[in-house]
Symmetry: C2
Subunit: 636 residues, 2 copies
């Protein structure tokens, strides 16, 4: 357990410089050094430049017999639109564990979406003296995983519309003959992927010419109901004008127009597949069974029915390997899968966590981030991700800020891009105390999974001791294992040593039980209701559309899946304006969708935008390249 | 000039196995070995896995004082839809020069679009025993350049619609205040990029508060005319339903609907910028001055007016570095920029060619490919690319096949996916002789640039000696420097040794003069007419829209740019059905657009689709991943 070679301690400056300046002030280690510290040999990874490497999946098989390290999930209280420093805390905690407490540690983070990077929010590499570096490589392109998802998602989308088009213009026989063209010897053959559809249709024949006309029709005509299509196109750009569009208006598409829209790429089901898959074989099956809509007879139509599940897997074959990077203090980071826990499940990948747990080994620590507040991020971590991974965390961290607690206690609205009200810049203990109801409910909910909860108060320079004491007291009263003040933004790992010690203790005394919020074998509605209750709701109401979808998915045999709520991150309830710990409300379910490949049912709570927009003055106004040095400037 | 270490000679099998089987039968050298052969040190490149590396642009500065090697451009006769093996010949020629003729050589190829790879055509790594390997990495994602172009193109598109939206809902003052928000000290500031717009408006003030209300309006209100927008979104997928769409139909976009469409990513102006740029600084300027449409007053609106030129450069900063790969026989390949010379300029990049010319040094060879027939590929190579690069080829290769010549001589239509007519499988010398008019015109046109022309007959197993002799005779009669038969598809480099020898001789006796087809300082119409004449046209006719655009671009000061014709690759004329060497026709110009950042005017000849479609049974039906080995299967 000796200090690893690449770790360094930072010399910090006060006041804290801009993120990009701190990031640029440190020369990163060559990523092969970071890999070496983890006992990875060069055949275990592919370099992507000097500071990124993809760790190859076979590592997992090689390490199968090794023991896992401790598993820590970082969630948060209900955030303000400014974010409460969850990524920063995740990184700071790991810098403390690795650079100050002499532990093997891997941070598992999600790849940022380029939408927010150029939009309002900026990058997601942490901040201050707790960052992943190089932050421009982390925030832009990385190793192409999100681009691969975009490409795969949109290939499937093109396949859907084009298939409907070709079916509309051809007879059963012509369609079949084109699908199974004669080879050089004039003999028709099924391609391998077609046997998946044949099997689904209970057709056991292996030669195209043996099919009856009825079987030809069943096989070749998917008969997709255009109104049932839930598969949308995606783009990793904040492009609000693509939220609702009409496609097919060209003369060659012969009037086959259809209303549809684009989501941001990280909301793609393929991102969820990437996050939840456990192997190449598993990914192939998940991608193939993604349901894009129904036939007019109500049968689910899959990517494999369209013949494209294999191609999607090929597009995703490198994306399944997590990307190794480093923190400012030289501790290793695995970056994988995507954010947006409000409209997706928003957790980093199972594959990354599993590899990391083996690499750190017993007494080592893997710290993984769950997006937004614990009501959505941690809930999905426990009930979806841990179900598929069969992993159990020993400790859950909940990040809180005085700023957000004041908001929950009744402080004025916090708006990104607008100056903060003085309530947030001056001591106001009663506001903080009132807001702790939000923290308390997150602690109680998280503790119910059977893990030790450590509260990390991410200290800002304006926070006072009295305010902090109020939070610590409230946290302990609500059942936290411990509550600590962190200053990792200003001090790097050194500022999170107390948090590191608390997490170590929580893990050492953590048990191996995970109590899920709901069992899988109850109805879709019962599962939704169990989650709604954890939000404080007294009931759930469904639109007619939601009822219809639930009935259909149940009939199609999908009711045994876990639930991934699409809900605002700004409140326990569906109403972003309801701060604190609302209760007694009725949770409205507007629609229900299914991500069969990823493996969950996906209720939409109220209206949730799946494509952000750009403000009048987006972040990109500050971003440029210093063409003399090749360095990025203005990225935040 | 000794044989380099990584070169190997192939042992070939007959009949020729499937492309992917040949590709998989060879263990590629680690790309650092290939780099070493080129005298590149590890700080000259970034690894992307084991078989790809990005060669870093500063190499060019380091090698500034070195002499260039010989420069060879490969064009073709007017092709059939099956392609005439131009990439295969380019690769085979280089395998011959490197592995058999002991020359330093670099092949410069374009990155394939994923659209055709999953659509009808399949990949573009060459074929048979003349391929770039690993062919799956070449055909899919590569090092992310096309994904970067997609991301940058679509960020700009989102910026356009969103800006129009925000301008429509805000007063001049509100707009200005949002564009220049107060900092922490309450002081408003211009961001650096805003000084580009201020300069364009002749405003020399540096403080926002000093602007008069009129200047505020001029600065903040771009007043883009929605009908003038030529910037479309892109996607690297064959998605015909995106050819014409309506965006902005969501309720939050308040009725601001607009008709637009998607092109395939390689048709983006940003791809053209990548291909034609010469440095980071040059790329920054080109991206910033891309024109997306006009203000209602007729002023061109640029990416920098929208504040996004810097962000686009940041997105493209790695894409400017070409990707090093290898052929089956271990010779180096630089892959950069994109295909589609029909709707774009379709040449590999200036940067790649320049680096390659320095790396091979005097007596070495750089072979670069120009897309489709010489009428469009080579023409654009000479008149656009060489103009911006200031490089001159010593030799131009024209690839011909007996199949295509028979088609030009009056043979039946050749359709992808349908069996070939027997005319193409049996000897028919008169058809070949008749078709040689097409070859002859390409030779005459190419020779007019002042280069030696070598004709490479890409031999198929069904071609007969009499047919080949007919081609050789016709080629020499038309003024070719030499004409040779090649069997590199069946035999690798060994099959192109005669071609290699001919190219060596042609280069040794080649001069350094390049006679452009047209000077830049004549009118747009005169330039279009010079190119039309080289097609065999007796005149040009313009639609009213084309006339209007030419007038506008001339008024805006853009008439000094070269011309990039968007024309079918299947005929010298605008009519794909007119084979051979048509003449006396009137070339119709439907519309004229401008790629000001890339640096050319862009007439549309007839109707050209900028977004391909998928057939009933796309290539993807055969493509899958062998999840046990991780190998791609079915890629062609």
């Amino acid at each position: 357990m000796s200090s690893s070679r690449s770790v360094r301690k930072l010399e910090v400056v006060s006041p804290v410089p801009a993120d990009i300046d701190i990031a640029n002030s440190v020369e990163p280690f060559h990523i092969s050094e970071i890999a070496k510290d983890l006992n990875l040999s060069p055949n275990h990874y592919d370099l992507y430049g000097k500071y990124k490497a993809k760790v190859l999946l076979p590592v997992l098989d090689e390490l199968e017999s090794s023991d896992n390290g401790y598993y820590v999930v970082v969630g948060g209280i209900t955030p303000t639109p400014l974010g409460e420093g969850k990524s920063t805390t995740t990184v700071g905690l790991c810098q403390a564990l690795g650079a100050y407490l002499d532990r093997k540690v891997v941070t598992c983070l999600r790849q940022p979406s380029q939408g927010p990077t150029f939009g309002i929010k900026g990058g997601a590499a942490g901040g201050g003296y707790s960052q992943v570096i190089p932050m421009d490589e982390f925030n832009l392109h990385l190793t192409g995983d999100i681009h691969a998802i975009t490409a795969a998602n949109n290939l499937l989308a093109a396949a859907i519309d084009t298939r409907i088009f070709h079916e509309s213009t051809q007879s059963d026989k012509a369609l079949f003959n084109r699908l199974c063209p004669p080879n050089k010897e004039g003999k028709r053959k099924f391609s391998d992927i077609m046997f998946r559809r044949l099997k689904k249709l209970d057709i056991t024949k292996t030669q195209p010419e043996d099919l009856t006309p009825e079987e030809v029709k069943k096989f070749a005509r998917l008969d997709i109901d255009p109104n049932s299509i839930t598969w949308r196109r995606v783009m990793d750009v904040n492009d609000r004008f693509l939220r609702k569009i009409t496609v097919g208006q060209g003369p060659e598409e012969k009037g086959m127009v259809r209303e549809t829209g684009f989501d941001i790429s990280v909301a793609s089901e393929i991102m969820a597949v990437l996050a939840l898959t456990t192997s190449l074989t598993d990914m192939r099956e998940r991608l193939g069974k993604m349901v894009i809509g129904n036939s007019k007879a109500g049968e689910p139509i899959t990517a494999d029915d369209l013949g494209v599940g294999g191609a999607l897997t090929v597009l995703m074959k490198d994306a399944i390997n997590p990307t190794l990077m480093q923190t400012l203090e030289g501790t290793p980071v695995l970056v994988h899968a995507g954010p947006f826990a409000n409209i997706a499940h928003g957790n980093s990948s199972i594959v990354a966590d599993k590899i990391a747990l083996k690499l750190v080994g017993p007494q080592g620590f893997v710290v993984t981030e769950a997006g937004f507040g614990a009501d959505i991020g941690t809930e999905k971590f426990m009930n979806i991700k841990c179900r598929y991974s069969d992993l159990r965390p020993q400790c859950a961290v909940i990040v809180a800020t005085i700023r957000a607690l004041k908001m929950h206690g009744g402080g004025p609205e916090v708006v990104a891009g607008k100056p903060l009200d003085h309530a947030y810049l001056n001591e106001n203990v009663p506001l903080v105390e009132a807001g702790c109801v939000n923290l308390a409910r997150h602690i109680i909910n998280t503790k119910a999974y059977g893990v030790n909860v450590v509260v990390a108060v991410n200290k800002f320079s304006t926070d006072t001791e009295a305010e902090m004491n109020a939070v610590m007291n409230a946290a302990m009263a609500a059942g936290a294992f411990n509550a600590v003040i962190c200053t990792h933004h200003a001090h790097g790992g050194k500022g999170a040593v107390d948090l590191g010690v608390a997490v170590q203790r929580a893990c050492a005394s953590g048990n191996q039980q995970l109590k899920y919020l709901y069992p899988l074998d109850i109805s879709i509605k019962e599962k939704i209701e169990a989650i709604a209750k954890s939000y404080g709701a007294s009931g759930v109401e469904y639109t007619e559309q939601a009822e219809k979808q639930i009935e259909m998915y149940t009939k199609q045999g999908f009711s045994g899946l876990p639930i991934c709520m699409a809900k605002t991150q700004y409140s326990f309830s569906h109403n972003a304006a309801e701060k604190g710990a609302p209760s007694g409300f009725i949770l409205p379910i507007r629609d229900v969708r299914a991500s069969i490949g990823a493996g969950f049912i996906y209720p939409l709570v109220g209206t949730m935008s799946t494509m952000p927009g750009l403000p009048t003055r987006p972040c990109f106004y500050e971003i440029d390249l210093d063409t003399a040095t090749g360095k990025v400037i203005g990225l935040s």
